[in-house]
């Protein structure tokens, strides 16, 4: 990625009191279990209430452009190949050829074996290349295999690595194991940025999402990401609230800025704007930048483009006005 993202290198580890939490597994467990709780009903109420904020007119247009710039255009299918990656790369550079003022997306997200293709197609565009790794989406493989995948992605030129955590270990309470794995991946990433996918739909409740967020941040994640998109439920507003709270508190306590990426299920402009409202209200306006907030989505971009046209020209757009992603 062209722009230098987070200013503070996380590899130096968490400062002060938080460093204590990572001293050993017992300390980590104590820290995570000692985190204040989250009340599911209250959380969902706030998410619903904020979703009612209206963003209209000129402000809506600007929000759409902002959202476009935050999209990690994603293709993670078994049938992916070089030509699909080239097609998406072209779209990532110039989302809507009729309107050159539409910003480019933040990154293109692909499987590790297609990173080279993506890097080539996006050279000089400013669009980042993100690669999933660590036996995505299940995370079920040996640490060696996972690290090998990360190395493949990084060596192929990925700017960002989207890893998955071992949910089995997390749910079994083996926080140390999850922590070590993230830390090792972090090290293997080198200069590449690390997004840690929590797969919130498998974690069973917001308290666990909250703990997993802190765990990932403590282990050096640049971003916490909700989902692989392969498990339902994927991103939801309340779950994203939890992640946003975590990065906000992380900054309050450490001064370091970390990002959030909801992924899966965000398809419409209306959804996207609700997420932006959540970002603004829960984490803060500082997070309204691609350095600190991304949408993991494939279909969203087209809806954003259609809505953008509607806003600009006052008539509804149709699906044939934007490109199909095949």
């Amino acid at each position: 990625m062209a722009d230098s993202p987070s200013s503070s290198p996380p590899s130096t580890g968490p400062p002060g009191e938080l460093a204590e939490a990572t001293r050993d597994e017992a300390a980590l467990t104590r820290f995570l279990r000692g985190l204040p709780g989250i009340d599911a009903v209250g959380l969902e109420q706030r998410a619903t209430a904020l979703a009612g904020r209206a963003v209209k007119g000129e402000a809506k247009l600007r929000a759409i452009d902002r959202a476009v710039g935050m999209v990690d255009l994603t293709t993670l299918e078994g049938a992916d190949n070089a030509s699909k990656v080239r097609a998406l790369a072209s779209k990532a550079r110039t989302p809507d050829s009729r309107f050159p003022d539409v910003p480019r997306v933040a990154a293109l997200c692909v499987y590790p074996d297609l990173v080279t293709e993506a890097v080539t197609a996006l050279r000089g565009s400013g669009v980042g290349v993100a690669s999933v790794a660590t036996a995505f989406p299940s995370g079920r493989s040996t640490p060696r295999a996972k690290l090998a995948e990360v190395e493949l992605a990084v060596e192929s030129g990925a700017d960002e690595v989207d890893m998955v955590i071992d949910r089995g270990a997390f749910l079994a309470g083996e926080y140390g194991r999850v922590f070590d794995e993230i830390e090792q991946v972090r090290a293997a990433c080198g200069p590449a940025h690390l997004k840690v996918i929590l797969e919130t739909g498998e974690l069973g409740g917001y308290d666990n999402v909250w703990r997993a967020s802190w765990l990932a941040l403590l282990a050096g994640a640049d971003f916490v990401k909700t989902s692989t998109g392969k498990v339902s439920p994927a991103a939801t507003l309340p779950v994203t609230h939890v992640l946003l709270r975590a990065v906000r508190e992380w900054r309050d306590r450490t001064g370091q800025s970390r990002g959030v990426k909801p992924a899966g299920g965000i398809r419409t402009t209306k959804d996207a704007i609700r997420y932006l409202v959540a970002v603004r209200e829960v984490a803060g306006p500082d997070w309204l930048t691609p350095e600190l907030f991304r949408f993991g989505a494939s279909g969203l971009l087209n809806d954003l483009l259609m809505q953008r046209e509607t806003q600009l020209h006052g008539h509804y757009s149709g699906p044939d006005q934007v490109t199909v992603d095949l």
């Binding site: 722009d3 204040p36 709780g37 989250i38 009340d39 009903v41 209250g42 959380l43 109420q45 706030r46 009612g52 904020r53 209206a54 963003v55 209209k56 007119g57 000129e58 402000a59 809506k60 600007r62 929000a63 902002r66 710039g69 910003p103 480019r104 400013g126 709270r245 932006l276 409202v277 603004r280 209200e281 306006p285 309204l288 930048t289 691609p290 350095e291």
Partner: protein
Amino acid sequence: MTEPDPNPLEYAPALESATVAALRERYRPFIGGEFTDGSGAVFSSVNPATGETLAEITGSAESDVDRAVNAAEDAFRSHWGSISGTDRAKYLFRIARLLQERSRELGVLETLDTGKPVRQATEFDLPNAAAWFLHYAGWADKLDHAGFGPSPAPLGVTGQVVPSNFPLLLLAQRIAPALACGSTVVVKPSERTPLSALVFGEICEQAGLPSGTVNILPGDSGTGASLLTHRGVRHAVFTGSTEVGERVRRDLAGRGKRVTSELGGNGVNIVFADAAPEEAVRGVVEGAFFNQGRVRCAGSRLLVEESAAEEFVARLRDRMAELRVGDPMDRNTDVGSLGSTAEVERISELVERGVAEGASRWTVPATLPQRGDFMAPTLLTDVQQSMSVARTEVFGPVLSVLTFRTAREAVTKADNTPYGLAAGVWSEKGSRALWTARGLRTGVVWANTFHRFDPTAPFGGRGESGNGHVGGAAGLEAYLDV
């Protein structure tokens, strides 16, 4: 791509249109099934958010009270008191449906008349009002099973005085159970906010409710007093301040009437150090500033555990700063206008007295509209139990912060008030939350939530917060001779 945006993500005003409210130039009393000119003084209803006059209303004189009570007595004797419960149920059901159908119109009207945020009016006040009629429609033919013995008899005519903070919802909460029980009703809405009640008269017409079953008398407190003391009224229902409530009860003494009342409050939110912090902050903010704090059960006092107080108050400020104060017709507005200039002055004085007594004041940095009765949400810290702001009912957007060290101390401080309407408890430890809830001398306790209402859940005050309940089977008791 990354140049800093000076104004990221504005919330453009999302204005509701005033025309939706279908305002008329003149509103009239609804007596004996028809809208007729009252013989009282003509007065106007003003939008407190703009100062504009909304409409003129012909007020009700003593003779109108007479006519209305007589009509209600006739309706009770000739019809409503004796028709089958199933038939009554169907009328209530019709009213519920009509309220649902006209909820946007009524929501906007309510906003214009009260200054409350339109989103709240349409998403809280109106759906709840309809829900109340739906719930009590179901009771009308099941009174035998309400726990008061077989065939409980209705009391007769009930006279009701409804306040200005939730004009239509509170009217629904009181009319629905009365009608379900077979009582007939004469209601006097607040002279500041009579419009939705008068449109409710139209809904009674549309529902085909037998004439005289519900009568609506716009007027001032004099009208209210002559209504409640009228010899034909068997049951007087008053909702308003404790001060006025006590006066009403004195007026009614020895007249052999039943009296129920929902009066003032001085609610508290108790936040333990182990509470889920974000939800507690949200609950405390909503508790204090929902409906501009113009709620009898508002959590106008915060008792926070000393060890967590500093951090909690910091979070509280952050969240309060996010409140959007301003035009009630904007769907993004969280805090609208108070009811009148006098109200703003009264509350400001109370705050100033608090500051003079040693409290520290912090006010949300909001730009208030030029016109209208607005007041920015205010936080008072360093408040002591003895200060006037902690002892009196605020009924406005002011939150006082006090601290405690033990659960016992929290309960003692919370209960140290003549009021007893509502309280909140925030703790992730179930047994402690329930222990605290049990100790609190209030009619409702919200544990890890606040300001929840439902027609199936009884709600009512203790001590000087009034007597009697709305909601559930308990809400029927006041209207039955049991």
